[in-house]
Symmetry: C2
DNA sequence: AGAATCATGTAAGGGGTTACATGATTCG
DNA sequence: CGAATCATGTAACCCCTTACATGATTCT
């Protein structure tokens, strides 16, 4: 296995849920309950993480070194664990933000999440995100259209046409995003 | 909770994977390995069940009484467990076949599966399936369009427009299914 | 001789949901 | 007074994936 220092190492594909948490923390430190609140107010159409899962994610992200926490005692209520992004965590998040979604089934979930956080964190990169996502979709469109020519099976053709229809619609939607 | 004898009782939503197995068995008795083979040859674009999962599903469906098996010994190879649908299983499958998919995100997975098995098992019901699915999508379209009018949040609007685009595309695809 | 196919599974783990436990505080 | 909010989690379960175990048979 050759490793090049300047080339981002292959990331094992991470769950979208991780990015939801990293994204919120990129907007500022927060404790678990707070992350949950922010995800439920404004992002509930994209991510629906349960509180119990958020606590678990924060712990596992911390084990990976993408996140750190600092205990803040309160007089009466239980102490807060205020989490913040580590440099590694920020790097992981930013590289996710810049990369288009490859699995079309996840477009709604993942692309809208990317778009949201890109607009908040690095809005100057939005056009690049949109155009690279468009490129991915157009590639897919071309390759599926080719497959369609030599497709005999009936069901396979229906599936193919369905996917083509979805991708075309996504392309149009993406092209209309320039408002 | 009032129950009417002639109204199908509320079914706890079942996993699509269950229907994949039930659907294959509706075409004829089969053992686990065979179910797996059939799902991988021809339905691999819709369902991708692992063999280990299929064995597990067959067992749990049997516990629910939707499926039965009969042991068939072989001379040298291990004995086969030939599964077949029970009347209850057939009922569950048929009521699934006739009902449209409500969660649009699952259209590709579930509707195409329904369509496939409907064409094989009760092709006379295909038009009804298609038109009831169309009705569901049009309803969704209307209710989302209404929501859109009183939608202020930017992200929410993007999500809404994305969903509208997907549903419209699905409608067009469905309307073109009459071949 | 080695690979693929036939045929059954088990075990471990990942990621997520549901429900529960705790206990103070604030709102209606 | 009871409900909701604040703040942390744990435990059990569900569905699914990955990898492994077993062993005969047929294909290359």
């Amino acid at each position: 296995m050759t490793t090049h220092p300047n080339v981002a190492r292959e990331h094992t594909p991470r769950n979208p849920a991780d990015y939801a948490v990293l994204g919120v923390l990129a907007l500022g430190p927060a404790h678990g309950y707070d992350v949950s609140r922010q995800l439920h107010q404004g992002l509930e159409k994209i991510w629906r993480l349960k509180r119990s899962q958020i606590y678990a994610l924060l712990n596992s992200l911390e084990k990976e070194g993408l996140v750190r926490h600092e205990r803040v005692d309160q007089e009466t209520l239980p102490p807060k664990k205020i989490f913040s992004l580590s440099p590694a965590g920020r790097e992981v998040l930013l590289s996710w933000l810049c990369s288009p979604v490859n699995h079309i089934r996840d477009l709604r979930l993942e692309f809208l999440g990317k778009l949201h956080f890109t607009e908040l964190i690095c809005p100057e990169k939005k056009p690049q995100l949109v155009s690279s996502q468009l490129a991915v979709l157009c590639n897919k469109l071309n390759s599926l259209s080719e497959v369609r020519h030599r497709c005999e099976n009936r069901l396979e053709l229906q599936v193919l046409d369905f996917r083509l229809a979805m991708i075309r619609a996504a392309v149009q939607w993406l092209e209309g995003l320039s408002d």
